[in-house]
Amino acid sequence: MYKLQLKKITKVFDKTTAVDNVDLYVKAGEFLSILGPSGCGKTTVLRIIAGFVMPDFGEVVINGRRVNDTPPRLRNLGMVFQSYALFPHMTVFENIAFGLKVERFTKGDIHKKVEEVLSNVELSGFEHRYPGQLSGGQQQRVALARALVKNPEILLLDEPLSNLDAKLRKQMRDEIRNIQKKLGITAVFVTHDQEEALAMSDRVMIMREGKTIQIGTPVEIYEKPVNTFVADFIGQTNIISGEIVACKDGKIMLEVSEKISFEVDNAFLKYQGKKASFSIRPDRILTSENFPPGSTNVFRGKITSDVYMGPISSYLISVFGQLDLTIVRNNDGKSRPMVAGDEFCVQINASDMVYLNE
């Protein structure tokens, strides 16, 4: 039995379909991210899970029980809001204790539970401060503690890291993931930041314009994007489009232009004349001054731009002036650095090109 299941969830606002026939299951203890650009419906899905939005169609099932008609306060979920939504007139202790007070826990129990969760988020000693006296990161931890103190079935997080600076984001990212793992709690995390989603999640669900595009592990999403949108949205990629001019023995020949053709491992594309697009990640393109003769998919190109980014550098290579490829190389200090104007050879493995649907 899954911890959470969404069955054919659909929601229409005015005339726009915010959520379109979404199916999802989440296993107990899993960390699932819902990722997508602004307006894709990810927050609406989260709010439907929480109960703040009623779906027009479909079922929300928690622990095997349908909860469509259960109000938010009875679903036993913990939620962290983008703005943290801390109660400004209450201390940190009172904020966290709020949920326990509602259920009439004894004073002793409340004290114990609050102290425990405070030490989990490393804020022991902050009990008597007010939200207005805390930094962004601290507020966030209080919001997290408040959501966790009642041991909810599922932890819901609505872009909680958006308001933090880059360094704090990375730090909080790790902290949230660690706490989640330590407590073994099921989490659904909404974000528009693909790096965050890849770094934190067991699985990622990518949404666009209300629809689910792809659900998979970070590795699957990155290495095997199902279409151009996903390939482009996650990390950087090169989209190579052309026409299939030959297919034989599980390999096809993709003609990009008169001088450029690629051999691609693909047993599914069977007919010639079809137009197809493939994705190849910049980090998968090999570069060298020379490749052994007879190697497949080797082309000579000229570097048209170089961007230094610290641990890596990104280059744009133009092949015969007909195909531009972005490649990425570690700055390991060992190989000769490349600069604009240089000529290099690139090679792409036949098995590294990923076919993109539509």
Partner: protein
């Protein structure tokens, strides 16, 4: 600024220590004759308490009526919101006298309410809704409601809505959220509104004199009477000074109350 405030006030306070004999002009002395008279005569005490009583009732009524109004206003959008704002500010858009005349039409023996009640057979003879404290309270509440409503609206407006969702996600019912979140966060607005409404209720003049009848129940009317009818400036000044001190005291109390509950 300071001059505009301090000078008239100090003149008034200085005047309260003068005397004015039954015949003749104001005598410049330093006597507490006026204050003696005020504190020894039950008549003045009754009026004083009456004024305070009316002030408190009006304040309470504006809170009870103003809160739902403010809540409705803050949560409405677009057209509804514009209309509500007009309704809320309505009383302020017409002058006092016109407004009070309006009330007289509604509350009088031959007025709207009495006619409706008699017509419906609920009463045989008109009830006195005017020329007594009831009329004054109704009129004052109507006039001062906008101040309280706006004050509470400001507090309500500043509450981040996701707080309520957070409370819900933690298991709180609407009633619980209202008690533990809305009310505490509205305290500043309610207190500010109360200070305003109370001070105005106690010092307003037109409404009591027109709706209150010849009973002379308001302190302010008393001041007016002494000052402009009896031309006993020292006495009027003394009464006014006492009113001033009372108001300052109430404001001080409310401020202390707010400080204690400060975030």
């Amino acid at each position: 600024m300071l001059l505009a405030f301090v000078f008239p006030l100090s003149t008034m306070i200085r005047m309260s220590f003068n005397e004015r004999p039954p015949i003749g002009d104001v005598v410049n002395t330093f006597s507490i004759l006026n204050y003696n008279k005020i504190f020894s005569d039950v008549y003045y005490l009754k009026i004083f308490l009456n004024t305070l009583f009316i002030g408190m009732v009006v304040t309470l009524l504006t809170i009870i009526l103003g809160f739902p109004l403010a809540h409705k206003y803050v949560h409405s959008k677009g057209r509804t919101k514009e209309v509500l704002l007009l309704i809320i500010l309505g009383p302020l858009l017409i002058t006092m006298v016109v407004r009070v005349y309006g009330w007289m039409v509604i509350l009088g023996s031959n007025g709207l309410i009495n006619n409706a009640l008699i017509h419906l057979g609920i009463i045989d003879r008109p009830i006195r809704l005017m020329y007594n404290p009831v009329g004054v309270i109704i009129g004052l509440t109507h006039v001062l409601l906008p101040f309280m409503t706006i004050s509470i609206s400001t507090s309500l407006q500043n509450i981040d809505n996701s707080i309520y969702e957070a409370a819900q996600s933690l298991g709180a019912s609407k009633a619980y959220s209202f008690r533990k979140i809305t009310l505490p966060l509205c305290k500043p607005g309610i207190i500010a509104g109360s200070i305003l409404v109370f001070s105005l209720a106690v010092s307003v003049f037109v409404t009591p004199i027109m709706l209150g009848g010849s009973g002379l129940r308001s302190l302010v009317i008393l001041i007016y009477t002494h000052g402009l009818v009896l031309i006993n400036w020292p006495m009027a000044a003394a009464l006014a000074t006492i009113l001033l001190i009372t108001l300052l005291f109430i404001m001080y109390l409310q401020n202390r109350f707010q400080e204690k509950n400060k975030l």
